[in-house]
């Protein structure tokens, strides 16, 4: 199939009605005629040029800010014995990237969520407001290839899609979870207060950062977190003194791995590795690794001093793009510090310990079991133009529980309309079966100003 056919929604497989079929047949005949007849092709060219003549001149300026609002209405079906709920939300999200002059730049990213949950049959409601100051920093370009940043920065490492073992600053960064989509989890998180510098050269770069401990938080739990609606919550974002060195170098065209060295006060240094490779015109591969001496996740959750050993974490996968606007990503995730099958089953019998373990894994955005699988299918301009369909599947390979997430999103000029469905299946103490929510449906509207 040609690129033209790939781009043409009319060529995509669907179940056409009689009218649609007639339209497609007519279009097909018109195309055939155009291909067979040079005169017809010439007439088409002239039509195209006339259309271009009539196209008005428009000027679009680059903006230094982006602002959107999002509204959500949902329905959540919960486990037996728990009544269904109706969540709703209004969010305001502002990001600014403003250049003061050739050397100085300011970045600000802030989000405000107003959440409300109504219990079934008018049995009451709960609401909360959460403001998340994601980023606020100044950047000084000392030279074109040497930069210095200071402030709250969302430092994100990692090339994998859904599990980022080398993303060392993700722990404790989630303040308001509005979606379980990986992109949303990365987007709506607290940056850490830090001083960062980066030096670049042809095909490589070296960056160093230092993030001091601020407040009285700890890395191991959320006790120090400041849950006030408008709290800056540095206790969560800066629970300990941390530093990081990251080095990238191009080995040959198309291959530039990244090596990271991370250290947190009181812990052994952690090593991170990132690499990706283009295997063919349609297939790209990625691998992300981290390794360090530490206690296991279970020992840390129990807050007991256990023997430290070297644990590896890995996230490795591939994305293949089919010639019908469909991209498929498959990712295998390994967490040696998490529980294996026997340990996970045993923990499931220990109510309080199980809760602490899950809480720690969630806080650190770490997988609670050793082997997991992630799959994402994204179909752009699916069935009709401006309609994107996404199907996400998370599968715990240890307890065989599953999470499905399906989204249909239609793009208007300034707004997005989306419908999301989420379903979780598994035994009562499994990764995805333990949640109170069984199935949920959300309708969202997002408007860009």
């Amino acid at each position: 199939m040609t690129a033209a056919a790939r781009r043409s929604p009319k060529m995509m497989p669907r179940s056409p009605g009689v009218t649609q079929l007639g339209t497609r047949l007519g279009t097909g005949l018109a195309m055939l005629a155009a291909l067979l007849s040079p005169a017809a092709a010439q007439a088409d060219d002239l039509d195209a040029l006339s259309l271009a003549d009539q196209t008005p001149q428009t000027e679009v300026e680059q903006q230094s800010w982006q602002f959107f609002t999002e509204g959500m209405l949902g329905y959540v079906n919960r486990k037996e014995g728990q009544s269904d709920i109706h969540p709703s939300r209004i969010s305001l999200d502002l990001s600014v990237d403003y250049r003061f002059n050739a050397q100085w730049r300011g970045v600000l990213a802030n989000r405000f969520d107003l959440n409300r949950v109504d219990l079934k049959d008018g049995q009451g409601s709960q609401h909360e407001q959460i403001n998340t100051l994601k980023e606020a920093y100044l950047s000084w370009q000392i030279q074109p290839d040497w930069l210095l940043d200071a402030g709250r920065i969302n430092q994100r490492n990692g090339m994998a899609y859904a599990y980022n073992p080398s993303d060392f600053f993700k722990a404790g960064a989630l303040r308001s979870v509005v979606s379980i989509a990986p992109a949303s989890l990365r987007e709506n998180r607290l940056g850490s207060a830090m001083l960062r510098t980066q030096y670049l050269w042809e095909g490589g770069s070296l960056s160093a950062l230092y993030a001091p401990r601020v407040g009285n938080g700890t890395s191991n739990d959320a006790q120090g977190a400041d849950t006030g609606s408008f709290a800056l919550d540095f206790a969560s974002s800066n629970p300990a003194d941390r530093w990081q060195l990251a080095w990238s170098q191009r080995w040959f065209d198309g291959f530039s791995p990244q090596l990271i060295l991370f250290k947190e006060a009181g812990s052994a240094p952690r090593l991170g590795l990132n690499a990706s490779w283009l295997a063919s015109d349609a297939l790209s591969l990625h691998a992300e690794y981290s390794g360090a001496r530490s206690r296991s996740l279970a020992q840390r959750a129990r807050q007991i001093d256990g023997e430290e050993r070297f644990y590896s974490r890995l996230s490795s996968g591939a994305t293949y793009t089919f010639p019908v606007n469909l991209s498929l990503t498959l990712e295998y995730q390994y967490n040696q510090a998490a529980l294996d099958k026997a340990g996970w089953q045993a923990l499931g019998q220990q109510g309080a310990a199980y809760g602490r373990y899950r809480s720690l894994a969630t806080r650190e955005q770490d997988n609670p079991t050793r082997h997991n699988l992630f799959m994402l299918a994204s179909w752009n301009n699916a069935l009709m133009r401006n309609l994107d369909l996404s199907l996400m599947l998370r599968r715990d390979l240890v307890d065989h529980s599953t999470l499905h997430w399906l989204e249909a999103r239609y793009h208007f000029k300034r707004a997005d309309l989306a419908l999301q469905w989420q379903s979780q299946q598994g035994s009562a103490t499994s990764q995805y079966g333990a949640a109170a929510e069984r199935n949920s449906l959300q309708a969202l509207i997002k408007y860009y100003f």
Partner: protein
């Protein structure tokens, strides 16, 4: 005049004629590549530059989409081919997103999630950027040109032009189009029209270069009308503006720089 000197003059004339004829016979092969390079020089400046690219898409005469890209280009010191940093300016939902294109090495960066994701050429083809960034390609570096014909062709302003029709064959597999038919104005080497073909020699798109205006001292096309090869009612009008020399340092053309790229830096 002696017989000897007459003979020598005849021999010299014959040699001169032979040399001229040899040159004229060899000309199409040599000249085709030179013509293509001259045409590239009209489309692209000779050093790092930036421009704005607005794409307006029509289907059956009705506008269905529009987007604006800010494109920054710097030539590779080894290959001479342009690498691109592309910033999405509109629509608003995509504003600020970046695409780094270095041959087939492609990275997409979303500033809100800070995620740099490698994408395959197939993924890139699905977006409008495929139309935008291909405009800064130096064809002479990626294609072997040969002269197919000298003919009169209708240009984008509906005028008849005396042209060279070149056949461009891809030198390697890392190009979007396997073959291109390329019409160049005989009088000034301006690109007039191009037909882009797939590896199975199917017509993918037809492009008309038009609205020539003086930019950076050269009359360059500021509008390209692209007609889909399969569905001729699918038309994209691509307009370039604000072409200017930009300092795009080599060190910026890498994944690690994407989170920092602010186009105002490229002055």
């Amino acid at each position: 005049m002696t017989t000897r000197s007459f003979t020598m003059k005849r021999q010299a004339l014959a040699l001169l004629l032979a040399a001229v004829m040899q040159n004229s016979l060899a000309a199409p092969a040599t000249t085709a590549q030179d013509l293509l390079a001259a045409s590239d020089a009209i489309r692209n400046p000779d050093r790092s530059f930036g421009l704005n690219n607005t794409l307006i898409e029509y289907r059956d005469g009705k506008q269905i989409d529009s987007s604006t890209l800010a494109i920054y280009a710097r030539a590779d010191s080894k290959t001479g081919q342009f690498r691109n940093l592309i910033r999405f300016v509109s629509p608003q939902r995509d504003a600020g997103k970046l695409l780094l294109k270095n041959g087939n090495d492609l990275w997409f960066f979303d500033p809100s999630s800070k995620a740099s994701v490698r994408i395959s050429p197939q993924q890139r083809l699905l977006g409008q950027a495929a139309n935008g960034d291909v405009m800064t390609v130096n064809l002479a570096l990626d294609y072997h040109a040969s002269l197919l014909a000298e003919e009169e062709v209708q240009d984008g302003e509906r005028q008849k032009r005396a042209s060279y029709l070149l056949n461009l064959k891809a030198k390697h597999g890392e190009v979007t189009y396997e073959r291109i038919e390329y019409w160049i104005d005989r009088s000034n080497s301006r690109p007039i029209k191009a037909k882009f073909y797939s590896s199975s020699d199917r017509l993918l798109k037809t492009a008309y270069y038009r609205q020539f205006k003086s930019q950076l001292g050269v009359e360059r096309p500021t509008e390209t009308v692209i007609i889909d090869g399969l569905d001729p009612k699918w038309i994209t009008v691509m307009r370039t503006s604000d072409l200017a020399y930009r300092d795009v340092p080599e060190s910026w053309l890498q994944r690690d720089y994407l989170p920092r790229f602010n186009p105002e830096q490229a002055k």
